[in-house]
């Protein structure tokens, strides 16, 4: 039995004929911060809700610390969903009281500690009246009050201004540094991910395209640039290539540098962009 914080083996989730996830297998190492990326509709939110036990996989199993997830939240896991659902008519203080009431294991001290970070959140304000940044902070405090060992964040940075985005990431990184929490975080903001993530999980069409340590992944890929008239011959896999009148640029996985081509290792953003472009090309080709 694999006792990694989160382990998925051959997980599939179908909604009728739509295959949101298909044959996904991966493990998250303990204490890692994994960026979950992929185009819209790649199955990122579905994957997070399967790990949280909100939905059951059509086949395959997800396990948390070796325990299979079956329709209920594992006590070690906290999930912050995209909509950041909170009881709007509650005050922040009442929201934290609700957290204590809903959980067997709850640390009010930890929750209030998170609320007091940065500029601090007014605890007597109604949740519905908070700014997007403060609301996210409350939602994170709510998630961390459970003292999770695995923290799942679905688009935690969407609709936050750059300052709030930066501060939210700082809260998460503080949590990781202090408590060694394993984090799986989905985001479209690649530059932010590069600063905090050490692992990458790239989904497309419900399948895992790339999974592993970011440094290794980047080392395994090359961006090669050559003249437009020469066709690219490589023993690696061409993920994506683009042509201009004068030159061809390609993202290649594995293999050696083709002779006569300039080769550099991509940064995270270029790597993910390459895969996203390829995903779109495949999608267009099918239509």
């Amino acid at each position: 039995m694999n006792a990694s914080p989160v382990h998925a083996s051959n997980v599939a989730k179908h909604f009728g004929r739509v295959r949101a996830l298909d044959d996904c297998s991966f493990s998250l190492p303990s204490g890692s911060v994994t960026g979950l990326v992929g185009p819209n509709g790649a199955g990122k939110s579905t994957l997070l809700s399967l790990i949280a036990g909100l939905a059951r996989p059509t086949s395959g199993t997800v396990s948390v610390h070796g325990t299979p997830v079956r329709g209920q939240m594992h006590p070690d896991v906290s999930l912050l969903t995209q909509k950041r659902p909170l009881y709007d008519q509650f005050t922040v203080r009442e929201m934290m009281r609700a957290g204590a009431a809903l959980n067997d294991c709850w640390s009010a001290a930890r929750a209030f500690e998170v609320l007091d970070l940065l500029a601090g959140v007014d605890k007597d304000a109604r949740v519905g009246n908070l700014s997007a940044g403060a609301r996210t902070q409350v939602a994170i405090a709510f998630a961390l009050g459970r003292l999770p060992k695995v923290l799942l964040l679905d688009e935690p940075l969407s609709d936050l201004d750059p300052l709030a985005r930066d501060e939210t990431l700082r809260i998460v990184m503080t949590e990781v540094a202090e408590r060694g929490t394993t984090v799986l975080l989905s985001s479209h903001l690649l530059t932010d991910l590069g600063d905090v993530c050490d692992h990458l999980l790239l989904l497309d069409q419900g399948r895992v395209q790339v999974a592993g340590e970011i440094d290794e992944i980047l080392g395994d890929h090359r961006v090669v640039v050559g003249p437009a008239e020469v066709s690219l011959e490589t023993d690696g896999v061409v993920v994506d290539s683009s042509h201009t009148a004068r030159q061809t640029t390609a993202l290649v996985r594995g293999g050696s540098v083709p002779s006569g081509w300039d080769s550099t290792h991509p940064d995270l953003e270029a790597l993910v962009m390459g895969y996203l472009r390829a995903a779109r090309t495949r999608k267009l080709a099918r239509q």
Binding site: S49, L54, N103
Partner: protein, 327 residues
Amino acid sequence: MTWIVWRQQRPVLITLAAGLVVAAAAILLLRAGMVSDLQTRNIVDCVRDGTLQACRGEGPRAFQKSWYDLIHFAQLLVIVVPALVGLFIGAPLFAREFEQGTHVLAFTQSVSRTRWMATKFVVAALPALLFVAVLQLLVRSWVNAAGQLGPLAGGPYYFSTFDAQGVSPIAYTLFAYTLGVFVGALFRRTLVAITLTLGVFVVTRGFLSTWRESTIEPVRVLSNELTDPYAGMGPGQVVKNTGFLDAKGAVVTDVNAAQAKCVPNARIEVSVEDRTACWQQNGLARSFREVLPFEQATTVHLLEASIFAGLAVLFVLGSVWAVRRQA
């Protein structure tokens, strides 16, 4: 957990409490005013027996003109409130959570879905049931104070008296509430849930109201007054049928044939005695009427309530299924 639901339902609870205070104050004041009016007009005895000679004059009529509609309105209130409970407490209970996505918040904590569901269901229901019960008792005390000068003169089967009495209001409330909860959990939209709850509630109530009287076996009341089958009938009787018996006690099937022989050839006035004598000669020995017995009312209440309770159980099971399948 209880606290959370209580806190979520706070606006509803405040509305219920305020509504109950206002309704109680109004009903008690009106009742006191009515009782003093009874004494002023010196018709207190008519409350017990409306057929007394003293209850036929101008005084009782004026009294009824000022009070009857008000009491009737109070009964209608007891009939309407269960529907409101279904629409505004039952229907949004889960539908609003699904709409706002807050069910995900609850589903991603330690509490099980079943416990979350059960707590929400019970904590939201109890104040509403209490409200209905207290309102029913208040209205009942007012209706009783008016007695035979009020809606009670229409008998136990008069629709507003029947529906606002006994186990019925609580049964209707349970039905409306669970219906709202189920539809809300199924369709996950508050507005859809409210609309459907209203429709299904009205149709079901209407159907069972017309059906329930057919479950009672009418009793036959015999009379020697052949020409007036309603002679000597007390107030509030529901007459389902009238007819005649022959000398052997069998029901006369062809009444018209017997009566036709007694129709005079010329346009002359025939006295009641003469007509009665003629009918008797032609085989109409006695007249009868079939009425709904008052003492059956409790049975009908229980029968109807058990149907609504059965439906409520189905709706609870349906809600459990609908919430559990929700991702």
